[in-house]
Point group: C2
Chain length 359, copies 2
């Protein structure tokens, strides 16, 4: 079985880490005898925007819709194109048009990586954030009135649907069933956000009835962020709305010291559309061009992609290779500066690719 | 000059820590010769709700409106009254009806308190969160449609006004001007929340023009929460919308290990209405009744109240007394269990009151 993979480097360090992601995939393909073919696209970047006045060609759905997966770098160069233009013109379009309603992000303390939290060691932190990825607070409904006057007002609607909430909850509960602890935490704010969040809570209660083995709890988002710092060991699967999931899936990797390393999967679980795999980090204009960006988030995202495509062994082997290289430490592996080493993007990428081949 | 202070213990441990807050105020009044009088109110509690079917009497504005300040404990007992009923029926009403549009929350690493962050010591973390407190994501506009069907949808509007944003920004910039570092950080999410947050950013740019001495930066809320953990020393004054400020002002104290200790001020800067002072922690039903709740958040809030009422020396003396007792450590002071000690609420309250008197 062959897989056609769309490769979209995007902006900034997306262009530097993407070749390492592809190199790691080729190493895994070689070892596990997979048939992967890659098609690179230059759109969904601010370069493209500058040439064409828009982020993507009109037929982007046709170009990408038939692919088996989208392997994505990073998008956004706020000095050149305002973020809400570049993001709503690309990444956020993909998520919605391809109904990638689950954004799955592991938060795992990896060997060799120092957590900013005192006294935490690998094994202590290992959970998933399951983020709703198509509706909620990321809404295109609203507007501005009385522009330029003292009465100026902006309104943006948070929109949540039963369908939209239930399907991401189901994914999260199913994921929790596969985990030894069988624990699910819901992120809410029903004490302050008085219409949408109480409804979210209701749907969690309803869904939980079908999963009597799951231990369910909930926290308001304010104290939940506090608990990520104070008690990261409490969490197993955390399910959250689009905005709350966005926050928690940056904060979680920050607590594990892996913000430059963390991967994510934007999944259409039914497989009607291609799913999209991207590192959690952004385009990092501040370090772009120096060749020191950490490629591990991109490579780990590739591992999630192979698992999604059915090659669970290959995906696991890639993560193990990452862990081996990280555990070797900056003395013995060409780790990038953010990991305390002196390696370049391609040196670290090559080391991981070698580790994948070596098995 | 005498001050009439409304005392509202509210729910749960609010009832346990409030007497210690009043005791500390009396100690400060004695030492600094202040004339404080206290009127206690039993409404704004779930007990009151159970007796009267509502959180407050109809004439609550008349009863409280003439007070010089409101000293508040905590509200909410979700097992008895749903949070959105109890909060929208009391605390959130006060904030809005009394136009307490600034919620001011110090995040400070105190002596004797262990930060959950590795390698941070007192002096490393010392910033303020300035939260918009009357509009934004905490909105009463929206509703539910197609109830009970698969098409069910809930909508809640985020509403931001030029007036509402500008006045809280002005407070934050003015506060930054009083600080040695003169640094202001704006919390945004204009890459994803595409209507309201770009407007927020615009107003920040506009306000900054009037403060050329202030060093202004901004972060999206996701990476900002990560930076609270990774680089808490970066921050001086952080200004945020209602929801983002809510999150940051729990996360900040969590990073300083002071979630049970942190105070807050809900301020109407013009003094048209009474301002309200309350600990950041909630009613904590899980420890209520044991007499071990930490009263320091309540006492520190009292200090903010005295400063607001013009008694800056008295407020500072109260904070110094808190710092002295905390620095003594659990061996030498009756610190509560959350601080590693064996003290009770009233033992710790008494120790702080004595320290205030001793000066
Ligand atoms: C209790 C709740 C409604 C409240 C809020 O969200 O404002 C609290 O978290 C706070 O920060 O004062
Ligand atoms: C770039 C931004 C729009 C995006 C989001 O908020 O979803 C990013 O933060 C993410 O988490 O993938």
């Amino acid at each position: 079985m062959s897989h056609n993979i769309a490769v979209i480097p995007g902006d900034g360090i997306g262009n530097e880490v993407m070749p390492e992601g592809v190199r790691a995939l080729e190493a895994a393909a070689h070892r596990f005898n997979l048939d992967l073919s890659f098609s690179e696209f230059e759109f969904a970047s601010c370069d493209y925007h500058e040439r064409h006045g828009k982020m993507m060609p009109d037929d982007w759905r046709d170009q990408l819709g038939g692919m088996d997966a989208i392997f994505f770098g990073a998008v956004g160069m706020p000095e050149r194109v305002p973020d809400h233009i570049s993001l709503w013109g690309s990444l956020l379009q993909f998520r919605r048009a391809f109904d990638q309603y689950v954004n799955l992000r592991p938060c795992k303390l990896m060997p060799g990586i120092k957590s900013p939290l005192a006294g935490r060691a690998p094994g202590d932190i290992d959970f998933y954030v399951v983020r709703e990825n198509t509706e909620g607070e990321y809404s295109s409904v609203g507007g501005r009135m009385f522009e330029g006057t003292d009465r100026e007002v902006v309104i943006q609607d948070t929109v949540m649907t039963r369908t939209g909430i239930d399907r991401v909850l189901k994914f999260a509960f199913d994921l929790a069933m596969t985990r030894p602890r069988k624990k699910l935490t819901s992120a809410t704010k029903s004490n302050g956000i008085s219409i949408t969040m109480p409804y979210w809570d209701e749907r969690v209660v309803e869904m939980a009835k079908g999963y009597p083995d799951i231990n369910v709890d909930k926290f308001h988002i304010d104290i939940l962020t506090a608990n990520f710092v104070l008690h990261p060991d409490w969490f197993d699967v955390v399910v959250a709305s689009n905005l709350f999931g966005d926050i928690l899936s940056d904060l979680g990797p920050a607590c594990t010291g892996t913000i430059g390393v963390a991967p994510s999967a934007n999944i259409n679980p039914e497989g009607h559309f291609p799913s999209l795999f991207e590192p959690v980090h952004g385009s990092a204009p501040d370090i772009f061009g120096k060749g020191i960006a950490n490629p591990i988030g991109q490579i780990w995202s590739a591992a999630m992609m192979l698992e999604h495509l059915g090659h669970v062994d290959a995906g696991k082997a890639m993560v193990e290779a990452i862990e081996r290289v990280l555990a070797a430490g900056p003395e013995n592996a060409p780790l990038t500066p953010d990991l305390g080493g002196k390696g370049t993007t391609s040196e670290l990428g090559e080391a991981v690719a070698e580790a994948i081949k070596a098995g």
